[in-house]
């Protein structure tokens, strides 16, 4: 599944009748994107966290830049089948590996994406803003601190400082590039913000920590509103 995550509910419903027993590998950003397939009792669901940039250059060209090997882990299924899935998808051009601790990778990237996909669209600026502008980095650090605390409460062992370091690396390596949510807003398309900021807010609420993610929530709400306004023009 390389589709936008907001299509997963409909896809799971459609595929339930067509391919329920095939292994499903989800190559998407965000938290909880596997839920529609788990809820419909798909027997094998795997999750990939992409560490690549891929951008349409023209109708017939794509710019593709692998940053590192993209890990795939088990949401539901066996280790043997995870290995089989990795072998099937891995290639010299687009590399994958099996990951035993996929949840930590998912959360780390989801937190980073919650920062990029809200702050950059709101500022209408490229990904490099965090390594260029101290004020933007300060906001990012506060969001990361909120989200990392929720991750820990949820049993995910990650350090906020490490997430900040990773964010800065990405900011430098993708300087000048526009994050997908900003492109979606510019093109009047739905965004994936629901599976980023709002999913973290939902998890915080379940943990009775809803007040601990106020900035993450506000940024998500502003991004959602900006998206809705752009599509109502």
């Amino acid at each position: 599944m390389t589709n936008k995550s907001f299509g997963n509910d409909n896809l799971a419903r459609t595929l339930e009748a067509k391919a329920k027993n095939s292994p499903v590998v989800i190559l998407q950003n965000g938290l909880g994107v596997e839920r529609p397939f788990i809820d419909r009792d798909f027997p094998e669901v795997f999750r990939c966290v992409l560490f690549v940039t891929s951008q349409m250059i023209s109708a017939n060209q794509i710019g593709f830049k692998p940053v590192t090997i993209s890990p795939i882990g088990i949401i539901k299924g066996s280790k043997a089948n995870l290995q089989l899935v990795v072998e099937q998808l891995n290639s010299p051009v687009f590399q994958f590996k099996a990951e035993t601790d996929i949840q930590t990778v998912i959360w780390t990237k989801a937190i980073i994406n919650s920062v990029f996909n809200s702050i950059c669209p709101l500022l209408e600026i490229d990904n490099g803003i965090f390594h260029r502008e101290a004020q933007a980095l300060d906001i990012a650090k506060r969001v990361i601190a909120e989200c990392a605390a929720i991750a820990k409460e949820n049993g995910i062992d990650l350090e906020a400082d490490e997430v900040v370091e990773r964010l800065l690396l990405i900011s430098k390596s993708s300087d000048g590039q526009l994050i997908s949510t900003l492109q979606d807003i510019n093109n009047k398309r739905p965004t994936e913000i629901e599976t980023l900021n709002f999913e973290i807010v939902n998890i915080a609420r379940i943990l009775n920590k809803g007040n601990a993610v106020a900035e993450t929530k506000l940024l998500g709400e502003l991004t959602r509103l900006k998206s809705e306004l752009s599509r109502s023009d």
Binding site: G7, L50, Q55, M56, Q61, I62, V93
Partner: protein, 73 residues
């Protein structure tokens, strides 16, 4: 084994081309908001460029797959 890739955006197309270059049996399927569209096309390896040519890949036949959002990590 046949690999179905759902979502013909930048990632889906890139993955399809990468797998096709490795002689895998791949079908790229466009996803719509309400249903899985019937429109699907098998990729033709003859329309791809070498993977190391400036890291730029030509995509699948474009008529059914208009440009879409970039997937950035």
């Amino acid at each position: 084994m046949k690999i179905f890739i759902i979502g013909a955006g930048a990632i889906g197309k890139t993955l399809a081309v990468a797998l096709k270059l490795s002689d895998k049996n791949v079908v790229l399927v466009r996803e719509a908001l309400t249903t899985v569209r019937v429109r699907s096309k098998k990729l033709k390896s003859s329309r791809t460029t070498a993977p190391n040519s400036k890291r730029r890949l030509k995509s699948a036949p474009s008529a059914a797959f208009p440009p879409s959002t970039a997937s950035l990590f």
